[in-house]
Structures are given as structure tokens and as C-alpha cells.
Symmetry: C2
Subunit: 366 residues, 2 copies
């Protein structure tokens, strides 16, 4: 299971794994893929620096990458306190009422509360790039559009290729015009921010539209799906959801037991594409929390970055509540195939053996 | 490009093509696939009988099938006149206003107007089955759920296997329990009635859930996509949209020039999943007609079969208007790959050569 992408990135398997967990990222890199650490959760660049130092010490010299979030349309800058002034009282009241109805308790008084995500402010994302380029990263990916030209130049000066996600062929073309080196074709079925065109249609469309390697994202969780992605013309796969149900994920996010229970129990029909997480359409696990926002009396979600600031305290309470029915978590339709919490290496081994089986099956059609 | 399905159906290529056009169906059967004629447009069973006699004379002895529409939930029975009483005046007024705004002229007085589709009433669909079983058909497919047990038995008594469409694994399991012989896994990206789970996730899920051959539907329009479908475990593909942009389609539906122009111009982003065509969610080409129904002042679509009765006269006017911007046509996201009107045999030849190329590319990953 080798493609030219493997040589380009110095990896054994064309499996690129996006994850907020350094334990998952390191395990995937050690298993032969490329672990890509999501930086958006690091409001403090110094914390990211410490985690990347840990990565340097725990990837056994194997390549890894990072993922930043710089929306193509620059969101309002500001501290959490400044920005919070723009959140309507009605929205706050709705969140409070829903949490009460869902029996999500308040946080204990002594909780050191995690702040809302600011990582998609350009100022914060730029600090992530600065820090990451001081580590031996092999890829920087951007989740929402092309990074600014000077950021791409900065990465190229350091010999680091840049990837960008695209949900339409025209976006992919623009990325490549802007200097992006790889395109991640993110299909409708993917978790997190996603468009409306499904992988089966989107991947070959983007492959035909650009002359750079394309990674298929959305719906990839087995070797059969990986074979399908490569049949469609992808040079590799970009996977995010599958790593949420791994043992390594718990090592980073120790308190995510209820979330993993919810993911393992869910079917492929148990996701919803909604703006309630960030203000932009993103696919989440369907739970009583997302259903409350789909009710007739729910307000329209706010634009990015206000919506996440609105719900960040609720997310902390939901997380602490540890109730599988009230999880708030981005995940793709592949969640239906996530039926156990496994080590990363086992997920990778299954991808490889399933891929070989699929190719053997195709051989018989000749 | 052979699978065990080919032997089972007596065909050379595992390409099953759904189409309302007997010219397309016959051309596909002659090209080595299985043409499946959609019966829902035949309110009069005698007309279907005449068309199937034409098929018998024009398929060169090659196998073909038919597709009926029997919703699992039985809709209200009645003639068009009876049923029309249930359509609210406000809905009629909305349709009239939109047609005026879109400059769709009234029909000439002497038009022999086509009635609304009644083919999904069980009484009418049963008449289709009766007629079809007197022809040498090799497959009966049902578009909305399993056919009733006695209809399945009737087909099996005549040695005709039955296929049913499914948008969820649980529906596929139920179909097989009911005696269905093949499942068509219809992904989100497909045209017409469709669910929310994309083909990349749905196809392997259904393959794992049932022990009968599965046909992949949704997003298939090239050999690469066909290879992807077979990599996912499908025994063949079920294609509908691609045949709309063929020369043979025009032979049946001579006045569809504007529709074909609109399809050829559309991108994969130019579809919408909506209830305005039949009352159930179906993917259509996005045009000024669908946009009018998406506007804030549009009424909720009516349940099946009322919604199609409501819009059937509008469909006739839209069709006669011959304006590519006001088409009402079910089509999948694959419409982005439909960039020319071609003969059916050319579409099939491209599928075969693209499939071989995809397999050669996969070989190099070993």
C-alpha cells in the first residue's frame, strides 16, 4: 500500500491522521502513517510548544505534521472578553435552559475552566505556525481555506509542504493557485467542517481539477474504503473520526469515556451537519444536545468565532457531566464503523489488511 | 469487469441502468449491461405493455428489467380527481404565482396534457407487475421499500428476482427478510429518492449487513467510481442520472433539450435534496424552480402522492417552456461529470476503460 505520496512525506503508508491528541498522532506516525496534530485547542502557544517537544521525543524519529485553522474569511479579532459582548442574551438564556433540561450540572466551583477556542483567530493560528516551524514537522495543514500567502511562503522557506481542505473543486483550484502543495478533499460524510458534495463525487472531481496529490477525507475507516479512495484517484487518505475511539485518545483526553461510549454505540445515521459547534457547517454526533438546537424554539447559531464562545462553557459542563446522551463532538458518518475502543496500531493494521483484501477481490473481476 | 452477478443475470457487465426511457434501457442491454425501465410514468398499464413489447423487439435477446414504485407505507388510493381535493388552495396559489414569476407560459389550449404520476399507488404498481411478468424480464426493482410479500412471491413464481433500494442498513436487512434477492444501496449523493448516508459509508455497511448481492447507487458515473464501488464490496453498480444526458434519452423524451442543456451545464454543487417532487426527500437539479420552493415564503411540500399531483401541471408547463433555468428533474451529484450528450454505448465504453485504468493504478500501490 504505497503511493508516490509516501516517498514525498517519508512515510510507509499513505494514511494521514488528523487528531487533537498528541498520543494518537505519535502512535500513528510510529505505525507508518503521518500523525497530524490539531492545534486549534491551544489558545496558548507555549503549551503547543511543550506538546510538540513531547512529539519530538515520542515519534521515534518518524515524520509528523500539524493542523491549524485559519478561516479564509478573517473572523473578528479580539480577546474572549471583547468578543463575548457580541453574544445576544437570548442565545445565552437558550443555552442555560437546554443544559438545565438535559440535567447537565454546573461545574464545581474549583474547576480550572478551559477557555473557548480562539485558535481560529489569525493571530492565534499564526503563533501556532511560528511554534510549529521550530519543530521538525513535515506538513502543515489548514482546515478552512488556503493559509495567507506569507504563511505559505514561511512554510516553504522551511521546506514544509502545506495542505488545505476543500469541499468543492473550485476551492481546490484556488488553494493550488495560492501555492498549496496537497489538497484534502473533504466529502459531505466527513466529521467537522464539511460541504455538501459526497466523497464518491468530490474526490475524482478534485483529482481532475488540480495537479497536486489529493488526500480523500470523509467516510474512510476501513481498508475497503481506502481502496475506494485510491481507486477514485486519491494519493492517500486523511482520517479524523476513527482516532476518537482509540486507547491513545484517552491518554490525552482522560475524561472522554462517555464520549467514546456514545461513539461506539452510534450508527452511521447518528450524525448531523449543523452550525452549532463553530458557526460554520460541521458534522457532529447526533445527541440530545444537537437535537435541542434543531428544535423549533432554538435560535440560529451565531457566526464564527462567536458561536463557539457561546457554547464553550456549555461544552465544559457537558464534558464534565460524562453523559453519553449529551455529548458535543464532531465525527463523520464513519462513526457507524467505530464499534470498539482499540489501539491506533490495530486500526492501522486493519486498514492495511482490508486494503489488500479489497485489491484481491478486484483482481477477480478481470 | 465481471462479477458473479453477471452470471446470475446473464449480462456481460455489472452495470444496471435505471431509466424511464425504453431507448436508453434497450441500448444499455445491447451494450452488455442491464437496462431497467422505470414504470412509474405509465398511468395506463396498456401503454407499458406496448413499450415492453418494443423492448422485446429491440434488445437483441439481451436481458432487461423493470422498476416499479411501491412505497412501503401505502399511500391513499384514489383517482387524480379524488385525491386533488386534499390539496390546499394556498399550495395551488403558490405554484401559480411561482410559474408566473419564472415566466413559464400556460400550455396551449389544444395540449393533450399528461396526468400526474399515479404509478406509486399500489393499485397502479400492481398493474405494472402483472404486465411486466408477461414479458421476458430478468429483474423487478422497487424504488421505495420492499414490495408486498405476495408481489415478491408472484415474481419468484415466474423466476424473476426482485431488487429493492435501501438508504440504511436496517432497511436492507428488512428487504432480505422479506425475500428480496438484491439490494441497491442508494447513497446520499444519488438522484431521486435518497437518504442521508453517503455511498462511501453506506455501501460497505449494507454489504456487511446482508448476504445477497449489493448494487452501489449514488455518485457512479466513471470507471474510477465503479472501481471504488466494487472495492467497497458491491457486486455491481446501479446508475440512473448518467443516462439522462444520452442521445437515446432524447429519442423517448423528444422535448427534453432544455433539460439536457441544464444538466450538461450543471456542477456537482447544483443539486438539492427536497420533498417538492414527490413529497419524499429526493435529489433534484437546483434551478429557479427548486429555489422558489426553498424561499422563506414557500409552503411545506405535501405528503406523497399529493405533492406530485400538485406540481404535475406545473411540470408539464415547465417542460413545454423549454427553459434550462426552470427545469424540474431528479439527478444526482454526478451531474457535475455529465458534460456532453453522448450515446449510451459510449458511456458504457468509458466506464469499462476507466475501470481498467483504475485497477492498473491500484496495482502499482502493491
Amino acid at each position: 500500500m504505497r503511493t508516490p505520496l509516501c516517498d514525498r512525506l517519508g512515510i510507509d503508508l499513505p494514511i494521514i491522521g488528523f487528531t487533537p491528541s498528541e498520543h494518537v498522532a505519535a502512535a500513528l506516525s510510529r505505525a507508518g502513517g503521518l500523525g497530524v496534530l490539531g492545534c486549534v485547542r491551544f489558545n496558548d502557544a507555549a503549551e503547543l510548544d511543550r506538546v510538540l517537544t513531547w512529539m519530538d521525543e515520542n515519534t521515534g524519529g518518524k515524520p509528523y505534521g500539524v493542523d491549524i485553522v485559519m478561516p479564509a474569511k478573517i473572523p473578528a479579532e479580539g480577546t474572549q472578553v471583547d468578543l463575548s459582548k457580541h453574544i445576544p442574551d437570548g442565545h445565552r438564556a437558550f443555552v442555560d435552559r437546554v443544559l438545565k433540561e438535559l440535567s447537565v450540572p454546573p461545574l464545581p466551583d474549583d474547576t480550572d475552566e478551559r477557555a473557548g477556542v480562539l485558535g481560529w483567530l489569525h493571530s492565534v493560528a499564526r503563533s501556532h505556525v511560528e511554534v510549529a516551524l521550530n519543530h521538525p514537522i513535515k506538513l502543515i495543514a489548514n482546515a478552512l481555506g488556503s493559509p495567507p500567502a506569507d504563511v505559505i511562503a514561511q512554510c516553504h522557506d522551511r521546506g514544509v509542504p502545506v495542505a488545505a481542505l476543500a469541499g468543492k473543486a473550485e476551492h481546490a483550484v484556488r488553494h493550488v493557485e495560492n501555492g498549496v502543495d496537497f489538497v484534502v478533499a473533504q466529502g459531505y460524510e466527513a466529521g467537522g467542517h464539511t460541504g455538501e458534495i459526497a466523497s464518491m463525487v468530490l474526490v475524482p472531481e478534485i483529482v481532475d481539477a488540480v495537479d497536486v496529490p489529493v488526500l480523500a477525507a470523509g467516510g474512510i475507516g476501513s481498508g475497503r474504503q481506502m481502496a475506494a479512495a485510491l481507486a477514485l484517484g486519491a494519493s492517500g487518505v486523511w482520517m479524523g473520526s476513527m482516532w476518537l475511539a482509540t486507547e491513545e485518545y484517552l491518554q490525552t483526553m482522560g475524561e472522554s469515556v462517555a464520549m467514546q461510549q456514545a461513539l461506539v454505540a452510534a450508527t452511521s445515521a447518528d450524525t448531523v451537519r449543523t452550525r452549532i459547534y463553530t458557526g460554520k457547517p460541521a458534522r457532529l454526533l447526533k445527541t440530545r444536545w444537537t437535537e435541542a438546537w434543531a428544535a423549533a424554539d432554538a435560535p440560529e447559531p451565531l457566526p464564527m468565532p462567536l458561536q463557539n464562545l457561546l457554547v464553550s462553557h456549555a461544552h465544559n459542563r457537558i464534558h464534565a457531566a460524562n453523559d453519553p446522551s449529551v455529548v458535543s463532538m464532531p465525527v463523520g458518518q464513519i462513526v457507524g464503523r467505530m464499534n470498539a475502543v482499540r489501539p491506533v496500531a490495530e486500526v492501522v493494521a486493519d486498514l492495511v489488511s482490508g486494503y489488500e483484501e479489497a485489491l484481491s477481490r478486484l483482481d477477480k473481476t478481470r
